[in-house]
């Protein structure tokens, strides 16, 4: 049976039975969301790589120790670990974390580009860099909800519980985040068209 058809829980069981491919598939499946979540917090690719590594080492150790709660979802659990490691890093560096939440949350499919020429690739990469920069400009509580929902796969109910607000407030923050991103993208496009 192809690995991609197995659930996260099945892959974990497979890994704990000694099949490294289970872990490999879990990483492959979730690496982009986890890495992007970390990067949006630390804004440094090398640091994000280190924290990503440490995150999965902790995942491996916890799974092997039998301490993973099977009732929880895998991706939010991993992102919680990642977020706690980010906070630990900032504490050590005596810096304020970009996002402070009560529980550890924050957070991040690759587009396959066929026949892309160099100019198209530059434009695509610039667009992706731009949207990440725009996310960084969002108010913290909006950025927090956006990262938790879009990259962390948490429901709005879960986000509301963690951040101790109502579901409507969590939804509203996400809506404001999307509206602000829309506005910033329109302003950026106007600047580009005006030749700035």
């Amino acid at each position: 049976m192809p690995l991609y058809t197995l659930s996260d829980q099945d892959l974990i069981h497979s890994y704990l039975e000694g099949h490294e491919t289970g872990l490999q598939e879990l990483i492959k499946r979730h690496k982009s969301k986890v890495y992007t979540s970390i990067y949006l917090l630390v804004k440094d690719q090398y640091l994000a790589e280190d924290i990503f590594q440490d995150t999965f080492i902790k995942v491996i150790n916890t799974l092997r120790a039998g301490k993973y709660n099977e009732e929880g979802k895998f991706l939010p659990w991993v992102i919680r670990i990642a977020h706690n490691l980010v906070i630990d890093y900032f504490r050590k560096e005596k810096r304020t974390p970009l996002i402070a939440t009560q529980e550890g949350f924050d957070i991040f499919s690759v587009i396959h580009i066929l026949d892309e020429n160099a100019e198209d690739r530059m434009i695509r990469e610039q667009t992706h860099t731009d949207i990440r920069k725009l996310i960084e400009k969002l108010p913290e509580e909006q950025k927090e909800v956006l990262i938790m929902r879009h990259y962390g796969d948490l429901s709005f109910k879960e986000i509301a519980d963690i951040t101790e607000v109502s579901i409507n407030t969590a939804l509203g923050r996400m809506r404001y985040a999307l509206n602000n991103l829309r506005k910033m993208m329109a302003e950026r496009d106007n600047r580009i068209n005006a030749g700035y």
Partner: protein
């Protein structure tokens, strides 16, 4: 009776956090309400951008993790 939907409902719809009935009702409404549809399409465009702008760690990082798993097994 015509059901009205809020902007928050659009956000829930974006992430499919609603019942099938609610989803069907909202889809019917989107088909008839141009302004609502435009708002929803804008949100969809942005979330598509969020998805497409995701980054990945390097192969070296992943290899390190797998090597750790192997040598500590």
């Amino acid at each position: 009776m015509t059901q009205t939907f809020t902007q928050n409902d659009l956000v829930r719809h974006l992430y499919t956090e609603e019942s099938k009935q609610e989803a069907d009702n909202l889809n019917s409404c989107l088909a008839l309400d141009e302004e609502l549809k435009e708002n929803f399409n804008d949100y969809r465009f942005i979330t598509d951008q969020l998805t497409s702008s995701m980054m990945s760690p390097t192969a070296d990082t992943i290899n390190y993790i797998m090597e750790y798993s192997r040598i500590t097994a």
